[in-house]
């Protein structure tokens, strides 16, 4: 019997935690108990950066993380989360599952982890203290951003002052007014109650955060072909997670609206204004990331063409 330790910050009760629990049970079932996945959810094994670092060194066997710490392996990993990269959610899903492994898998293996599948984190929406309907409303405001080049580039393009800070600082900063607004993946942002301090939700859906399930290179080298095949359950289950998350987003926003939280849905024209204002973000990220960023972006462009809009 082989036991592999999986680390993640996903709460065990969240869609991600439940998905990982289901996949682990399935793997134990198909392998007849030969391969077990021991889940260390809820940040028990540390923050995302620590989980990834410990996975590449083999202290953990599997990392289930967003692409934010992946940019530490290589800055090109920021590209899939560039604002307005995809023309539609369907195109994004197609590119992610059909083409991303060819594009980014090599970079990850070079950094000591083998990707099994991509993980859906979901679309970003905007939480603000005052109503916001166009990027012009953000002028002179302070926006909490993740300390990533993708977020910094977008803040700059939208003409808002980006204040980089960790997730745990965001709520108090919104409360005291150190920042006026923040963007988060929908489910996460609502889950931690961001709408209670910044009650105006603008459904910008401006970018999509992905992540990965990746095996430590050191562990991978020790696994039998049979065991590697069993791990394929992760790969096969990836799209279900996407479906679950993308389906839950409008439902959750609907619940907020029902509870009287002002949720601003953008019309096609309004959405186009936000998108136009973010023009040049991808180019800025490519320049900032350097390395193979241009090549990665080109391959994603090809993948988009192959997937259609």
């Amino acid at each position: 019997e082989t036991v592999l330790k999986l680390g993640s910050v996903a709460p065990s009760g969240s869609p991600w935690g439940k998905w990982a629990t289901g996949v682990a049970a399935k793997i134990e079932e198909v392998s007849g108990g030969e391969l077990k996945i021991e889940l260390l959810l809820d940040a028990q094994a540390g923050d995302e950066q620590t989980v990834l670092r410990q996975t590449s060194k083999g202290r953990l066997d599997i990392a289930f993380v967003s692409n934010v710490p992946l940019t530490l392996l290589s800055q090109e990993m920021a590209i899939p989360s560039a604002a307005y990269l995809f023309d539609s959610p369907e195109q994004g899903t197609c590119v992610t599952y059909e083409h991303l492994s060819d594009t980014l898998g090599g970079i990850m293996e070079g950094a000591g982890v083998v990707p099994l599948t991509w993980m859906e984190v979901g679309h970003y929406v905007l939480f603000s203290k005052e109503p916001v309907s166009s990027p012009a409303d953000l002028a002179g405001k302070k926006m909490r951003i993740a300390p990533s080049i993708a977020d910094a580039a977008l803040a700059k393009a939208w003409g808002v002052q980006g204040v980089p800070m960790g997730t745990s600082d965001a709520i108090p900063a919104l409360q005291t007014g150190t920042v006026d607004a923040a963007w988060f993946p929908t489910l996460f942002g609502i889950g931690i109650g961001t709408h209670k301090v910044a009650p105006h939700v603008t459904v910008t859906n401006h970018a999509r955060l992905i992540g990965t399930v990746a095996v430590s290179g050191r562990t991978w080298a020790k696994l039998s072909d049979q065991e590697k095949q069993w791990l394929g359950v992760f790969t096969a289950a990836g799209p279900q997670l996407t479906q679950g998350i993308l389906g839950a987003e409008p439902a959750l926003l609907g619940q907020l609206e029902g509870a009287g939280v002002p949720v601003k849905h953008l019309s096609a024209e309004e959405g186009a204004v936000w998108k136009a204002a973010a023009d040049g973000v991808l180019a800025a990220i490519i320049e900032e990331a350097g390395g193979d960023a241009q090549a990665v972006a080109d391959r994603i462009a090809q993948a988009k063409a192959a997937c259609g809009s």
Binding site: P11, S14, D42, Q44, T50, S168, P172, A173
Partner: protein, 420 residues
Amino acid sequence: MEVLGLFALFAALLILRQSVILILLAATAYVHLVWGDGLVVYLIEDIWTAMDNSVLLAIPMFIIAGALMSRGSIAERLIEIVRAATEWMPGGLGFATILSCALFSAISGSSPATLLAVGAVMYPALKEAGYTRKFALGSVTSAGTLGIIIPPSIPLIIYGIITETSIVDLFLAGIIPGILLTVALGIYSLVSNRHVPRTRFSLSRLMAALRNGIWSLMLPVILLGGIYSGYFSPTEAAAVSVGYAMLVELLVHRELGPRDFFAVGLQTAQMLGTLFPIVAVALSIKTILAIEGIPQDFAQWLQGAVSSKIAFLLAVNAALIVIGCLIDVVSAILLLGPILFAAAQSFGINPVHFGIIMVINLEIGLLTPPVGLNVLVAMTAFRERFWDICHAVLPFIAIMFAVLMLVTFAPQLSLYFVSP
């Protein structure tokens, strides 16, 4: 057998007069070798991970600010203001200490930071005003723990994130328990110090103190105001205190020179060099517990062993007090928060209420040996003996425990302000 080995190692190193840090590091290395993956390099990695954390930045900054203020005269002048304002009341300065901690807790999310910021002024003030060393130590060390129950609170944020509970609701829920704790500790300090000699209230003394200490008085004003109006975060406030203390001592009071700044920095580095490794050891032990799946086993056992809500709550309180002795607050929440949370839900306990119960429990854990962060910080900052502080906080622990019971069995105290 392996446990015996650990005790033998402990005893041998103790007899051979090794420092506490080396004993802890060696014992943790032993734990890695025997129960972990057998790789001691992970111990070093855990020290790095523990220290690579912006939350800890406030500790050296507040220690430096405190040392500058007491080496110069900011602290002295502040002390005179507080004494002039409170010494006419029975136990007044003791009460003022508790209140200052509560006030600072309302801007700081961290308990050691609260202890350091208030203790730098109030600890010497209490001793000068004739309070016992025991009360002085006990009150600042214990009331400093209010930092994590009165919002904002770093542990409540962490609990909110990993259990997907609204952080804002958790903050609202912390208000009444925080006030209750403040009142209970305040009453204790009034009653236990009613015989401390008093002075007659003198308006002229107070006015003179205020005139003399206006620059000192501006420091708390700037801190509170700056954080409340969103100019800076509590961590940044620590740096602002250092900057302000330097400016005032250098330009206004003119009692400090470059040599003093050097001495203060050096002293702080040495203090943290003796403190940080202990915090890191707690993190390393947490990681091993997590990887070995011990919290899951414990929660399963607990759910099987108790059948009523009251028994569950009592068992959780007991377990958290024990775990609070061994590991730090944030690690304990990461390890046990989600697991106990799931069990609590099966007993119909409100998630927000449960978060408050956890945090008060772990707040008590900040005062219990061997890993009681506030005790360790007080020991380094005030240069007092570990066991003296443990002894000094005992009555305060008893009061906090009574409030914990009240909060545990009266959920409406936590949920009064929380929207259903």
